[in-house]
């Protein structure tokens, strides 16, 4: 239940949201203002709550994947991969190397897209609109590639349990390499426009700073935590999906402020490009799904021509994948931090319970502390730099 009480009598209460230009979604922030200075802030979440976790209890493991698209809608592929990895851990299987590499490539491309949106919208809120267009041009290229490889732009439903839905197009390597040459140009442009821009530095340095201890107490992950100086990245700390095969650095900041979060995101995009470059050069051949009739659908020729194929298809469609009773938690490093899935199975085709650990939730709860005593403009800059995505926050 949301409640808000004024701390002082001589203040003004300003309702920011649920629909406000800077919330980029449906968040509600109630600010108590003394002039322009924020005395207190209170958050209300849940405007985009769709009961995704509850819906999971009535869907097969594969049937839940489309719902993961709708969580962090800025980087849906990462949610798909994260969820698939969690279920695969529950089933105790490992997908073929080619599928792992393709997942890594798509994951990193999406990470870049997410960071482009995060930085773009953050600086737009600070009045620098042009950078947004420079970045969204690249995002458009990325979405074109995703559309070509996956079939959809936003609601990708890219993975299946045990692999990916279908193999990528034959000229995938070429398409990715075009991205590898084009994206750095935009990053360079924005870097020149912003990184050493006096106004931008003044607006972001020291704004929304949080200490490492405090960040850890709040459960920060991702760029916001790395900006405080802790090189915590699950891709390094507990590699999954062949991340151990690739060379990349984990950029960190020093002060944990908005400027450092911006720098970390910028550098992460460059590192992602590095990973993609390595992965595309070493992309192995082979199947893209595990060869297990209880998990992956058989190819269509088999379904139409053999009895076994038809039965496998029928069983999988009608009864779904059945996991052994047990529970599993698996977290991956998505653009915003650690996205974790906690799945409890009672041996049926549906999960008994599924819990999502979204990175935004931990970040957003620190928001009141970060804005207290600062100005409205700072609140906007901080909100943008935390990159709160309502779909993931409320689920």
């Amino acid at each position: 239940m949301f409640s808000f009480e004024r701390k002082r009598k001589d203040t003004m209460v300003l309702n920011m949201g649920p629909s406000h230009n800077a919330t980029h979604g449906t968040l509600r922030i109630v600010l108590e203002l003394d002039g322009e200075i924020i005395v207190n802030a209170s958050l209300e979440i849940g405007y985009l709550h769709r009961g995704i976790e509850k819906m999971a209890e009535h869907r097969t493991y594969n049937g839940f994947i489309p719902l993961t698209d709708r969580m962090n809608y800025v980087s849906p592929i990462m949610n798909n991969v994260s969820y698939a990895l969690a279920v695969e851990k529950l089933l105790g299987i490992e997908v073929p190397k080619r599928a792992q590499y393709i997942r890594v490539i798509m994951n990193e491309i999406t990470r870049i897209a997410d960071h482009l949106v995060a930085i773009g919208t953050n600086v737009v809120d600070m009045g620098a609109l042009t950078n947004y267009f420079y970045f969204f041009k690249e995002r458009e290229r990325i979405y074109d590639l995703i559309e070509k490889s996956v079939g959809a732009r936003l609601t990708t439903t890219f993975t299946r349990i045990g692999g990916i839905a279908r193999d990528v197009q034959p000229d995938f390597a070429h398409d990715v390499k075009v991205l590898l040459t084009e994206i750095p140009k935009s990053i360079r442009d924005v870097d020149k426009l912003l990184t050493k821009n006096r106004i931008f530095m003044d607006r972001t340095m020291g704004v929304g700073a949080i200490t490492q201890e405090r960040a850890l107490e709040y459960g920060f992950t991702g760029p916001a935590l790395r900006a405080t100086g802790l090189p915590w990245d699950l891709r390094k700390k507990q590699p999954y999906s062949s991340y151990e095969d690739f060379q990349f650095d984990v950029p960190t900041g020093e002060n944990g402020d908005t400027y450092d979060r911006y720098l970390v995101r910028m550098e992460e995009m460059r590192q992602s490009l590095r990973i993609i470059e390595q992965a595309i050069d070493r992309l192995p051949d082979g199947p893209v799904s595990v060869d297990d009739p209880h998990i992956t659908l058989p190819p269509k020729e088999e379904v139409y021509n053999t009895m076994e194929g038809l039965i496998h298809h029928f069983m999988l469609i009608m009864y779904g994948i059945k996991a052994k009773p047990g529970y599993v938690y698996f977290g991956t490093e998505v653009a915003n931090g650690e996205l974790g899935f906690y799945i409890v199975s009672d041996g049926e085709q549906y999960p008994y319970r599924l819990k999502v650990r979204p990175p935004c939730f931990a970040l957003f709860q620190a928001f009141p502390e970060m804005v207290r005593g600062r100005l409205i403009s700072d609140a906007i800059a901080i909100l943008g730099s935390l990159n709160i995505v309502a779909g993931e926050l409320d689920r």
């Binding site: 300003l14 009045g127 420079y134 912003l194 931008f200 100005l375 409205i376 403009s377």
Partner: protein
């Protein structure tokens, strides 16, 4: 003594200047969108008419057709008056801007200026300061917290930068010794060291920088567009406004930009002056002259003025689409702690140079 023909000529000039100003405002909105699109790798509005040139007409029709909403709790009278208080001063200020040499017709002298006022600069400051009331009143009358914050920001921003701007202009006044804009423009045609035109930018470089920064703040343009910061205050003072009332605020802002550009050109870039061009033709120092009829000189001067104003308008747009905006406290800090001391310093330096007879 005023004769009827002179009155008629000035009346005609009023109409022409007004029409040109409003047309420029209309096309400036288009230019803003097209130039921003050009900078951002987009196309911009290009569907209405050739190259989108009729877009302002379409916008105008749209504004008139839109529902005119007055919030229930708003102060009706002030709410309606506020947009007028913004646009009227914005258009009035252009009255004293000169855009050409005096024209010597048989029997009379015609100023290329609606009113050759003896306190031209003071008039501009006085009238422009009126415009801010429209924004404050509009922000207050809307009965919206965002609008109120926008109005308040606008008020403090205006106070902070008005002083710096006035002090910067004092330097110009000291050098040229006149408040008449026409005289100021004329003096800039004289030569320094025998060959350098005495343009404001050369004799008052520091003053120019202070003035241009202040002018950006006065016109509420990026990086000083805090009163309407769309991401923070939704729309600032004009959040609640719709239809033509909003259009008036919008036009007021653009008209202010044009006046500001005209002022920048007049005070610091020689106004309508073209280097070495006198009303009998080009006179190059030590290299003879190129005689020209008076009408040709007049056309060149008006064109030169238009080009200079156009350049500053482009600069306005260029800056807007390049820089992020300041924070409220940084903005006032810059005004009070940097620009005003610098402007005072500029006045002192100018005074010393005048005493030393360098200027």
């Amino acid at each position: 003594m005023v004769d009827h023909v002179t009155v008629l000529i000035y009346a005609l000039m009023c109409v022409v200047v007004f029409a040109v100003l409003l047309t420029t405002v209309a096309f400036l909105t288009l230019a803003e969108r097209r130039i921003s699109a050009f900078m951002q790798d987009r196309l911009g509005p290009n569907r209405v008419g050739p190259w989108g040139l009729l877009q302002p007409v379409a916008d105008g029709i749209k504004f008139i057709m839109k529902e005119d909403i007055v919030p229930r709790e708003a102060n009706r009278l002030l709410y309606i008056v506020a947009p007028l208080m913004t646009i009227v001063p914005a258009l009035l200020t252009f009255a004293v801007v000169p855009f050409g040499h005096d024209l010597f017709l048989p029997g009379r002298v015609i100023n290329f200026q609606i009113a050759n006022f003896n306190v031209g600069i003071l008039y501009i400051f006085a009238i422009a300061a009126m415009g801010i009331f429209g924004i404050i009143i509009g922000g207050w009358a809307s009965n919206n917290k965002y609008s109120l914050l926008g109005g308040l920001r606008s008020a403090s921003q205006f106070i902070s930068y008005e002083i710096a701007m006035s002090l910067a202009v004092i330097g110009v006044l000291m050098v040229y010794g006149s408040l008449r804009l026409n005289n100021i423009a004329q003096y800039q045609g004289s030569l320094w060291f025998g060959f350098l035109p005495k343009w404001g930018i050369l004799v008052q470089p520091l003053g120019f920088i202070i003035f241009i920064v202040s002018v950006y703040a006065e016109t509420n343009r990026v990086p000083f567009d805090l009163p309407e910061a769309e991401a923070e205050l939704v729309g600032g003072y004009h959040t609640e406004y719709s239809s033509m009332k909003f259009a008036f605020f919008f036009m007021g802002e653009y008209a202010n930009m044009i006046t500001a550009s005209a002022l920048l050109a007049t005070l610091y870039f020689g106004g309508w002056q073209v280097p070495y061009l006198h009303n009998i033709g080009f006179i190059f120092p030590g290299m003879g002259m190129l005689a020209m009829p008076q009408w040709l000189v007049a056309i060149i001067e008006v064109l030169s003025f238009a080009v200079k104003v156009g350049f500053f308008l482009f600069l306005f747009l260029w800056v807007r689409w390049t820089l992020p905006r300041f924070r409220f406290d940084q903005l006032t800090d810059l005004g009070w702690k940097v620009l005003i001391p610098l402007a005072l310093l500029n006045v002192v330096i100018t005074a010393v140079l005048i005493v030393l007879r360098v200027l």
